[in-house]
Amino acid sequence: MRAIRHIAVNVFRESVRDKVLYNLVFFAVLLISASYLLGQLTAGQDVKIIKDLGLAATSIFGLFIAVFIGIGLVSKEVERRSVYGVLAKPVRRHEFVLGKYLGLVLTLAVNIAVMAVALYLVLGYMAWMTPANVQAAWDAPALDPALLKAVFLIFVELCLITAVALFFSTFSSSILSAVLTFGMFVAGHFDADLKNFDQVVASPAAGALARGMYYVLPNLASFDVKADVVHGQPVPWALMGLATGYGLVYIAMLVLAAMFIFSRRDFK
């Protein structure tokens, strides 16, 4: 346990010093702030646009952080051979993988928190500037706590993407891991379409393949409640629990597979 904690803290410390991270967070905060200006252009829709853009920025920039720092967790360590020094210490290989993963989850949590605070600040300013009668026409209040539900599910989704990046990076190069992880992210968002693919294609083989992929690929659409939250639609706790549970099971499988592969591989 001690080793896992120290490795995780080290990942966090290293990544907060990485300029890539600062740039990503800076641009995310900039985009969230800019959404205020965009909102001014569309009368009546402004608060929705800010929420929409803010949540999308949190998700996209979080994805960049998860992929670019996530693949560096293992494959870059192996390519640069910094892993040799650590694995000669009293650290089991699976502890190394788990420590690395938890360190990045911690980094993600802090970054998403920063982005969420930035979003709430912009929304707070918006509410302060808007007369009460205009606010009454909004679908949901500016400082709607339900936004946190969307932010939380973005976090779970990014933890899953990080686990995908970690999994690929235990056996492939960093560039290949990045490509595969992005591919998985895109495919994961269209996963639901694969389920009924057999109804739109003539070939039964293609239909069966698509059905198989539907079960294997993560269904990332289930973490996306952004539109519901922005339009003031309720997001039931049951749905939150189900999505989180699904995410955790998927993450556990990926991390276990990553540990298994990493424990058996040679560092040439």
Binding site: R2, A3, H6, I7, N10, R13, E14, R17, D18, R80, R81, S82, Y84, G85, V86, L87, A88, K89, P90, V91, R92, R264, D266, F267, K268
Partner: protein, 318 residues
Amino acid sequence: MQSAIRTEELTKDYAVGFWRKRPHRALDRLSIDVAPGEVFGFLGPNGAGKTTTLKLLMQLIFPTSGRAEILGQPVGAVAVRRRLGYLPENPYFYDYLTAEELLGYFASLFGYVGPERRRRVSMLLDRVGIGAERRMQLRKFSKGMLQRVGIAQALINDPEVVFLDEPMSGLDPVGRREVRALMLELRDRGTTLFFSSHILADAEALCSRVAILAGGRLTAIGQLSELLAFEIRGWELVVADLRPELIDRLGDVVRHHAEIAPGRYALELTLAEPPERLLAEVLGAGARLVALNPLRDTLEDVFMKHVAEASSHRMTTE
């Protein structure tokens, strides 16, 4: 007595080739036994299998066959890793950490905390000559400075057995002398040192025993004095007041001769005849003995011979 390091028929094959993979033997049935407190030099040209052996001992790679033990336990056991240190070849650490933070991190993996951890880190960085630079991020470090940090991290847990892969690589002459002194200090404290090198002067200055590896095979192993003693290739006789015509009379037994001062000659004698007889003849002719020394191969000669033998053996078997 229990060995510090023991390998038995340790073998490693790598699959090479992109399409049709075929095995390439990087290490072939290596069996060595290193006693506690020994300074063991692992010598060989590039690609001989030195780093492969060290990686097998650190369980960074898994053997194809054979086994290896450190301090009586199988390699890879966490309990063993607590008691050993390892300097990888051309070490590379984390760009964004300072030397102090890196050593602190590694110390914490061994369970050092608080002031004890700070004391150890500071003491080791002093020991390897890293001064104010210890608060600089490692990406700004030169190769030689990284090597020093690498040596410091290998000693963070006060290890009983230390593995050093090319410890002198990247160091300037001052750095090499300091590292040599550090290794001798560790030896005097009873630490077992196992180091790979292709720099033979280091091995001659430090090792009690050496192994020579070529083409993945062990070609020679033994104490330095034994390895070199086997290889007497003649005698050097230095005499004064020698008449030059006597040299011609001695015949083929004199391989070379050189006049080093008027009437003073250095004669290189072959092993064809015992030196005592020739000495008696030269002295009988009125010359004076200045010195008689056996001519031994240097470690470099021994090394080159074994490497050449191994490569010709490989060519005939392939």
